[in-house]
Structure formats: C-alpha cells, structure tokens
Symmetry: C2
Subunit: 365 residues, 2 copies
C-alpha cells in the first residue's frame, strides 16, 4: 500500500472537504429506503433550499456529478426543435450548448470572448421567443462571473437555466430572487463535499413544463420526484448513493452553521487575499477585475519560468514538493493560465499563504 | 444529532460494505487528475476486469448508480429505429425495455412470467436480425437467474447487453466467455461497496459500433474513454467521484484477495443456508429451485402473520427491534414477496443466523 496522499486542493475542484464530511463518511451505510436515511435526505434537500435561496419543493442532490445536473436541466426541459439561447464564454457554456443540441434543441449561441462576461442584452435579443435561456453564473474555465440577474429580469416567458457549479456557497446565488427555473451545481467546490452529486432545484413554472418521458430515464426529474418528495410515497427509482448524500449533508451542515452569506464573504475575503498576493508576486490576473470571481482565480502563465520549465512542470512541482494542487487551463486556455481555487474548506487564509509562499519559491520570485 | 443507525443490510442492496471500504473512505480527498488518484482508478479498472472476467480495455466505474450503467449501454449502442430484443421477466427487464425505447429503439419484448426464467430460444427467434439483444442475468425483483450463456451462444451478429447488477461478484459472470458486448453492474450488492457507481465493460466489437454523439453527453462512452484510458491523454470529461472510486477500489481489493470464484462460492453457501432455514421456518420460496439465485432470495409473504399485521409491519419490526433490513416486493410483486439479500460482506453465516432467528421471532415460528 502506498502512503496516502494528503493534498491542499487549490485547483478548480475538488476542494478540501469540511471536517463534517469525514464524520459523515465514517457512519455505517444504511438502506436508501431506511427511515433514518430518508430523514437525512429530507434534511439535505432543506439545506440545499437554503443554499440556493429558494422555496422550490423539487430541490435535491442528483446521483451524478455537476455535468449530470446540466444534462438533467436540458433533458427535462427541451423538446426537439425548441429554440434555446445559450451564453458561451468558456468551456462550460460550450458544454451547455453541446448538451442542449444533443437532446434536439435549436441552439442559438451568444458568445463573448473567453475572459469577458456575456452581454445580457445580447442574450435577451438573440431570439424573439426562446423556449429557454441558459448561462453559466461563474465560468470555471475563465474565472469570470456572468450577470444572471439582468438576464433573469428580462427573459419574459422563456425558462431560465443557470449553472451554479462554481458559485453555490461561494457567491450569492438567488434562485427565487432571480426567478431561475432550474439551477444546478456540484458537491465538490464551494460546498466542500467530495465530487459525485449534483444539487439541483426546479421551479413550479419549470415543473409544469417538464418533458414527459424524456430521452433519459436515469435523469427523469418527474420519476425522481416520486422518490425524493416525502409526500409522493417514496416510489423506488434508483438506489440513492447514501454515502455521498451523507457526505453532502455533513458539508451543508457546516454551511448552515456558518451561514450562506458568511461563507460567501469568507470566499470573497480569501479570494482577494490570494489575488493581491499573486499581483505582489508580479503575476498577471487573467479575468478583468470588475467580473473576476473570488473563489476561482485565473492567472496568466508567466513567460519567465526559471529553468525554462513548462507551466505543467510548475504544477507538478507544487504537487510533489508541497502537496498543493492547482489547475491548468482548459479548452482554448490550455497552457495559458493556471486556475487557483479557494473554495469550501480550502478557503482559509492559511491556505492562501501556503500557496503564495510555495508558488513564489517555485517561480523564484 | 440522532444516534447513527447501524443495520444488518439484507435487502436487495445496499449490502454491508467490506471493512476495506471504511479505510478507503477515511483517506483524504484528492484531485481527479492527481497521479495518485489516476493510479487508484487504473487499479480499479484492472480489478473490474478480473471481476467481469474480461480483457476489455474499456472497463471502468461509471459516475452514477447501476441504472446509469443500463442507460449508458443503450444510449451508446442504439440508433433510432434499431430493432432491440429485450427479455422481460421482472422489473429490471421492464426498465431495460423502457430505457431502450426512450433512445429510439424498436423494442421487441420477449416475456416470461415474473418468477420464471426467460426462454433463450424465444429471445433468439424474436427478430430475424436484431441490432442488439439485452437481458438481465440475475433479476433482483424476482430472485430468478436467466441463462445468459445460451443466448450469447446463438446471438450471431447482434450485440449482447447483459445486466449483471445483482450477479457480479456473487455468481459466475463470464463476459469474455459469453462474448457479451456490454455488461454493467452496481457497486452496492455483491461487490460490497456503497451505492453510487456503475461498473461497465465494453467489447471491442461494441466499441466499433458506438453511436457517435449520442443523446447523452454525460454517459458518452467515447468521451469517457478519453479520460479513463491511460493512453488517451486523460482528457477532462467530468470530475470523477474520487471518494466513491476509492471505496469501490477498497471493496474490489477484498474481492481480489478472496478470489472471484471463492466469493461466488461463499454467496452460494450462504444463500443455501438462508433458503434451507427459511423452509425450516415453514416459509415458501418464490423462485423455482432450478433458477433460484443464492444472493437474493424471494420469499412468499405468509398469510398467517401474527396479530393480523401486514408484511410491511414485519419489515419495520425487523428494522426497529433487530436493526435488520430486508426488502419488500417491487412492481407487480409488491406486497406478495420479501426480498432477502445475502451479498457482499453481508454474505456470512452469522448474518444468516441473525436473520433467521429474528424473522422466526417476529413471525412466531
């Protein structure tokens, strides 16, 4: 057995989990229809409602990673030929467009350069009566925030799908305030649980327009509601991943104790500390300040890495010498940026100091 | 905080996990691209090859429960209008037919009564040139085994999809011996890990016929192969559920140490012990002896439950007084049978004794 790696996780996810997760993972596995588990599940859904700032009855952890949440949104809302406006200014906007197209949407792409925010006006004017408008709140590939509120305010009859994978728990997500119809996230970033679940919430307006018998049985929200909603009789759909739900429940317990606003403030504070420190090291931040995420920072790879090493060499040295993980660029930014996450339980000042110190050493600054 | 329930899990799954799972779950979370994790993933895929008895390169844990494995099989192999022969003699055969239909298959159902095995000849003669033939190896809803080998031997050019959700690790699964094209399973039954992953294996013949750009992005096996297969460059697809993969790796470690054949023999022995004991209690077994599973036993609910209580009352009493979970009937067998699993780490003689003693007490026998 090799020694167990223990990393400081400062990539784009997973982040280091809250201590409550370890406690939850140590609990015995119980059945997915056990009243004890159903209590944990109900409580998890309640906590997710608080995190999403919503009263939506259908709010739950889907049994897949964040990308399964994305797929569930489109699979359950898109009918073949539906005009779907998708904002694309990074890898996850691209993924939305691809996922929507695969279930038959007539995708109307509204683009902005990677590193710039979407223009809400362009999204609203892209089609005269879209069935759905979809955008990413916090682009993990670029470190840029998109203005969901402005799009939400003007979208009229269109359903609104918001990707909150990198925002939930780390910056203000206001599902009911926006009037978003489906928002989904992941477990392993600002929520501070391991990867494997996709929190999702569905408005009553969206429920009235769910596709009947969508192409995916596994992600059919109407069937899943029959198990998750206590009043629906707990009809068996698939075996819930009880261990992961317990872990998420633990992480959300930490969030509830701290308070969502306080958690967002902590993410903001640590992000600022990190970004100021990176600038002090003489590094250039990729995302423009007005639209920059705090929880996920993109740094331009400097030209003068000592010893002529590559950006990947730097990441590997951080990993092997300091047990610190940061992320490389993704998609068209591969090789050009580093992505440094400061999310969930990772978002603490001491961790920022560790990263800044180690990176300074490796870069000889 | 309520006290943590610790159950003897003798329902249709989850089973009690092997001790190696708790050790794995206690390890720190690391990144999905961390070389340490990629080593665990590669090793997990190797162990799955041994469990499935296959040399298939594309063998991996999918990031969803067993039903996601089923969906992945049809999503990646079915083109709209394809004739797909599905054996239906229980809930999971029904689910196969439904899942295949949703992705556009022209489903040809070959039925047998719930509780009876499928007739291989009927499956082979149902259509003159099916694109695909699909059946469940061990029907979790009825406790009946289907004869995969005979279907496999005669299926000609048709691809063969086998559901091994309740068989893998508990009875002989011979993917290469059969020549099955896709077999999938779950983590929480005879493999003795928590629920949340779907082991799946794909033959070279099936790979050559994978649908390009299937309706599901999340379950697109061609894209997933780009991350899972070491030679493919580890292209990011979705964030692997590292904690659950670690747990499965631990459980498979227990299986490798025991040996697959020895594990199957243990499941057989414990199933016989259980079934003999149930008959000694005067209970009637539902599945005919020649086709009866050892790892999942269906028992006819007796008419003379003391105190005029229901079958659900009996299960609740087992749960609350003895911390033992058994399952009720599913689908058309709801209320008519109990389902008693003896799978994974649960499959030990002392557990059988505990269940028989407790059930005897509750039924006054």
């Amino acid at each position: 057995m090799s020694p167990i790696a223990d990393r400081l996780l400062m990539g784009p996810g997973p982040s280091n989990p809250y201590p409550e997760v370890a406690t939850a993972l140590a609990a015995p596995v119980i059945g997915h229809l056990d009243p004890e588990f159903l209590g944990v599940l109900d409580d998890t859904c309640d906590r997710l409602r608080t995190a999403f700032a919503t009263a939506n009855a259908l709010t739950l952890p889907l049994s897949g990673t964040g990308s399964a949440g994305m797929e569930a949104a489109f699979v359950n809302l898109v009918r073949p030929g539906d005009p779907v406006v998708v904002g694309v200014n990074g890898l996850f906007g691209e993924r939305m467009a691809e996922t929507a197209a695969r279930v038959g949407a007539q995708v109307v792409r509204v683009e902005a350069p990677w590193g710039q925010p979407l223009d809400p006006g362009q999204l609203l004017e892209a089609h005269r009566s879209p069935a759905l408008i979809a955008l990413v709140h916090a682009e993990t590939s670029t470190g840029v925030a998109n203005d969901v509120a402005s799009v939400a305010a003007g979208r009229g009859d269109a359903l609104l799908v918001v990707d909150t994978v990198t925002s939930l728990g780390g910056m203000a997500v206001e599902v009911d305030g926006w009037g978003a119809d489906i928002a989904y996230s992941c477990s392993q970033k600002c929520l501070g649980a391991p990867p494997g679940l996709a929190p999702i919430t569905v408005s009553e307006r969206a429920r009235a327009r769910l596709v009947e018998r969508p192409s995916s049985w596994y992600l059919d929200l109407s069937l899943i509601a029959g198990y998750v909603e206590a009043g629906a009789g707990r009809a068996y759909h698939h075996t819930a991943p009880v261990t992961m739900v317990g872990a998420l429940h633990g992480a959300l317990g930490a969030l509830m104790e701290e308070g969502v606003a306080a958690s967002c403030e902590r993410h903001r504070r640590c992000g600022t500390l990190l970004q100021d420190g990176l600038v002090d090291l003489g590094l250039e931040l990729f995302a423009p300040e007005a639209h920059r995420l705090a929880q996920l920072t993109t740094v331009v790879v400097p030209r003068d890495i000592p010893g002529g090493r590559s950006e990947a060499d730097v990441r590997m040295q951080l990993l092997t010498e300091y047990d610190i993980e940061i992320g490389g660029g993704a998609g068209q930014l591969a090789g050009q940026v580093w992505r440094i996450g400061c999310m969930g339980h990772t978002a603490r000042p001491a961790n920022v100091m560790a990263l800044l110190g180690a990176l300074g050493e490796v870069l000889g600054r």
